[in-house]
Symmetry: C2
Subunit: 229 residues, 2 copies
Amino acid sequence: MSRIEYKNYDRFLLAVDCIIFGFDGNSLKALLIKRGFEPEKGKWSLMGGFAAQDESIDQAAGRILLNLTGLDQIYMEQLHCFGEVDRDPGGRVISLAYFALIKIDDSDGEKLEQHNAKWVDLRKLPALIFDHRQMIRLAKERLQQKVSNHPIGFELLPHKFTLQQLQALYEAVYETNFDKRNFTRKILSLGVLQRLDEKEKASSKKGAFYYVFDKKKYKRLESEGIKFI
Amino acid sequence: MSRIEYKNYDRFLLAVDCIIFGFDGNSLKALLIKRGFEPEKGKWSLMGGFAAQDESIDQAAGRILLNLTGLDQIYMEQLHCFGEVDRDPGGRVISLAYFALIKIDDSDGEKLEQHNAKWVDLRKLPALIFDHRQMIRLAKERLQQKVSNHPIGFELLPHKFTLQQLQALYEAVYETNFDKRNFTRKILSLGVLQRLDEKEKASSKKGAFYYVFDKKKYKRLESEGIKFI
DNA sequence: AATTTAAATGTCGAAATTACACTTATTGTT
DNA sequence: AACAATAAGTGTAATTTCGACATTTAAATT
């Protein structure tokens, strides 16, 4: 019918760039690639791609992530749209940034190699093309904010994890240290962790209990606006 | 140089839609217009427009807001990009939603009339086109979140305001009631309000002191991560 | 049995939050 | 001049949360 109405307006290339976070037990990392095409070929970059007419932007983001990592159905959230006129020297490109949280070990090593991808410590980022550094900075801020109210930290940890691992994750996200006793008390008082009988024995004689995140318990509390940190 | 690289990708119409909030002393309102063109001509809608190649998306949002309200340099923030394939029956349009906070009395009445614009209580929204209702809901959630950490509520009030007006605003934003004594104590303890000698006398014999937001004091505290509510 | 390792746990003071009701300043009325 | 009316302004006590801080415990190794 009225596609006619819109025909005279400008059209834009729409890139989708993904900030992919991972946690290796010590530090928070982002997955970067060596860009395989011009402009800026060979430079460090976020994984990205162009959106197509027949997919939603969320689908485009999922596709790009799947492309790089082989992973599907992972935690992903729209971050921000970057639309400065000159942000990409190759042309007027609007970029939609998404951030994703994955478990490092789940990703497909072959695929990562194909893209020359590398996990990089967030505190030691190399030079990046365009406004990608700004994107990562914003993503990190958003992650901090989100983690304080929502149980998404678990997306970065193995299914079962120790309290020490969980604390290390929060410490990496906030770049700070927490008191172990206060941290444990607080996190357990939320009532969304379930302790398993199994222990992790690699790092001590005594062994540390594994916990899992109990999504059902969380759902029941969610409406209340639970605070994490 | 390498505009060539990008040429084969799909291009998109990029709409910018604005959720414009106002506060009339009692309730939180959004500025809606009766859409003046097809499709869905005559239906209630957010103010919007298409982005152009020679402007950034932030500039586009500012232009659209200026168009409707006659206001410049007002508080505005990118909200979210809406990109479902079928969200607009008139064609594939990606919509970037922005939200703005304005003082109702500052807006240009003539311009509003030209666009058939109307302030509508957020709790009594009419049917809206496309995904505009969802946009408003999201904007309101974001406003609540933002107001709790940032001094943006003042953008919705006159330059000088009473504590009662400020409380009414917060109550409207959160759709709840606060205890007057606790609210006053907390808000004053932040140390970012300056009391004037002048009183508002319309609503009581005693009169209520006017306050102004002290941006300088705030800037000094900002780094600390001040909490509002 | 003794040693080693890291895990697990409790208390106390400070600060923040909540619940709750009376007094005060001013104007208009008798 | 006293009084009534109106909404503004203010304090306290109980509770909860937060932050700092050190010892005991479980299991494996020697």
